[in-house]
């Protein structure tokens, strides 16, 4: 009966039972009513050996199809340096828990402090927590932060330009939390200032959440937004792709109070949607309402610089139902991905990633338009992803692309399809795709 994860010999078990003073393992459940003990066999497969497990998953993995990724919409196929998995698989990081004992957790605490330093630098905020689950839940937490910061208000405005999955998650939280959500429409491909001002005038607005780069890939112009929101004493909040913040105007520069988003674009593998890592950052006057773990610097009794979880009295384990959020954990290991990524890339590397993506995306954009199969939707500036109107049937377009080895053209709205190119995309990739698309026998739309 020996098994690699159970160290007990039969003799060990006997000696331990003797010390406890019971006759069998079953006796350790004497406090459990008989009728809830499960004494049937589980319908589970027999134990596999490691070699069998490898073969099993290699078969399962082959049921997935790997394509050249030309899709964005909240998950980006960026280059991830080889150092990252090497460092993140160090078991001292991987197998530790939340750093409750700072004396033996300085490794985790130090990299979270570095992570906080980097995220605040990118966003232009004063503080950030040690990370959230993903971008969509970070946006929901931002909404609740706005509610907590402006006690007596009941409404939060969200832009229609946010990614659909972000909108849906925010709506779910709002529904149960009792927040009145109002959408602000997009006009000409960007969150409408006019509509925003009109909704603000209706009053009772705790906060406004808009995208930095919206679901059409357009870099939004937020001129006047912060002043309008602040005039109503609400929080101005931006949902950002942090990779882009190395080059585009930061939420800090736009006058935002809170910034949220997903750091998957900073070195985290696509991995079918998770684990990713959300972020939530704010100006210092809102730090008491910021949910989640926060690491601070201090000294130990010998005067050595050291790091510790701080401002814990905001959190659920102390405030229980009065906490702003129920969040307990952070995505610590994923924050390490981000920290190592940003360490390696630095300001120059991150700029280069954006330049390469920008160049590739614009080349793709122009090449696709030149096929005559697409039409431009907007002439507003974009970075690495964009939206075109397909003049051919979208379903067929997607299928032809898959057959040619590309994944993309995900529909954002009926007839409008998304494309994205990162530094991984070469001229040859684009030419190959365009060559295929030109030779398809398209169905009449």
């Amino acid at each position: 009966m020996a098994f690699a994860y159970f160290p007990h010999t039969e003799d060990d078990i006997k000696q331990m039972l003797d010390k406890i003073g019971v006759g069998s393992l079953r006796d350790l459940y004497s406090d459990v009513p008989e009728d809830v003990i499960y004494d049937k066999e589980y319908d589970l497969p027999s134990a596999l050996s490691e070699e069998e497990v490898r073969r099993y998953f290699s078969n399962v993995a082959s049921m997935n199809m790997q394509k050249i990724c030309l899709c964005g919409l909240g998950a980006y196929d960026h280059y991830s340096p080889s150092v990252i998995p090497y460092i993140t698989s160090r078991s001292e990081f991987l197998t530790a828990y939340t750093p409750y004992q700072p004396e033996v957790s300085q490794g985790t605490l130090r990299y979270i402090f570095e992570y906080q330093s980097m995220i605040t630098e990118l966003t232009g905020m004063d503080c950030t927590n040690a990370s959230m689950y993903d971008g969509a839940t970070a946006a929901a937490e931002a909404m609740m932060m706005a509610m907590a910061s402006t006690k007596k208000k009941t409404r939060v405005l969200i832009s229609e330009g946010l990614l659909p999955q972000v909108v849906e998650v925010v709506k779910t939280y709002a529904k149960y939390n009792g927040v009145q959500l109002t959408s602000v429409p997009c006009v000409d491909g960007q969150t409408s200032y006019g509509a925003l001002v009109a909704e603000l005038a209706a009053g009772d607005v705790a906060g406004v959440l808009v995208p930095g780069i919206n679901k059409y890939g357009i870099i939004e112009d937020h001129t006047g937004f912060a002043d309008a929101v602040h005039a109503q004493k609400g929080l101005f909040m931006i949902y950002s792709d942090p990779s882009s913040l190395a080059v585009i105007r930061t939420p800090g520069e736009w006058g935002a109070d809170v910034v949220c988003g997903d750091s998957q674009s900073l070195g985290v593998p696509l991995c079918f949607g998770g684990p990713y890592v959300g972020f939530l950052a704010c100006r210092k006057e809102h730090v008491r309402k910021l949910p989640g773990r926060i690491v601070g610097a201090t000294k130990d009794v010998d005067g050595k610089r050291a790091y510790v979880l701080t401002l814990q009295a905001r959190e659920q384990h102390i405030r229980r139902e009065k906490a702003t959020s129920n969040i307990c954990s952070n995505q610590s290991l994923m924050a390490l991905y981000v920290t190592v990524y940003l360490s390696l890339m630095g300001p120059k590397g991150l700029r280069e990633v954006n330049q390469l993506s920008y160049g590739a995306a614009h080349y793709l954009h122009d090449s696709l338009l030149a096929t005559g199969l697409f039409e431009e939707v907007s002439d507003k500036p974009f970075l690495k992803e964009f939206t075109l109107r397909a003049l051919v049937p979208v379903e067929q377009l997607q299928k032809e692309m898959l057959d040619a080895g590309f994944f993309g053209a995900v529909e954002v709205e009926p007839g409008l399809v998304n494309f994205c190119a990162t530094e991984k995309i070469s001229e040859q990739d684009v030419c190959q795709l365009v060559g295929v698309l030109k030779n398809v026998n398209w169905q009449i739309k």
Partner: protein, 127 residues
């Protein structure tokens, strides 16, 4: 032994009240600051907020604990002790010298429900 000050009113939730005309000056007692340990933050309402007797108006936090503050009287907040924003430790140094909020009372008769120093000391002795 935690100290008390004669001539103040005391609540069961460890706030003290000093009355000046129609204004109640509210703080936490020495017993309370002692029980909390080193304070790291005082969460205060805003001026002009309406507060109700028996309802929370803020909180005091130490590194690993938080305790809500309950208002002994109803009324309007007319002043908050801004010094506490940067120096919550003032409450540890002298809980009676350092008040938290001043309230324009809407019903001064609520003071009658509070304890005097002797009654409060007796209550603390039983805790």
């Amino acid at each position: 032994m935690a100290k008390t000050v004669e001539g103040l009113y005391y609540s069961e939730s460890h706030e003290w009240v000093k009355v000046e005309g129609n204004v109640a000056i509210v703080g936490i007692t020495d017993f309370a600051q002692h029980a909390m340990g080193d304070l790291s933050y005082v969460d205060m309402p805003e001026v002009d907020d309406e507060i109700e007797a028996g309802e929370e108006f803020g909180a005091v936090e130490s590194v690993k604990a938080a305790s809500d503050l309950f208002s002994p009287v109803s009324g309007t907040v007319v002043e908050i002790n801004e010094a506490l924003e940067d120096a919550p430790e003032l409450l540890n140094e002298d809980a009676f010298e350092n008040w938290i909020i001043k309230v324009e009372m809407s019903d001064p008769s609520q003071l009658e429900a509070l304890m005097d120093a002797a009654a409060y000391e007796a209550m603390c002795a039983n805790e």
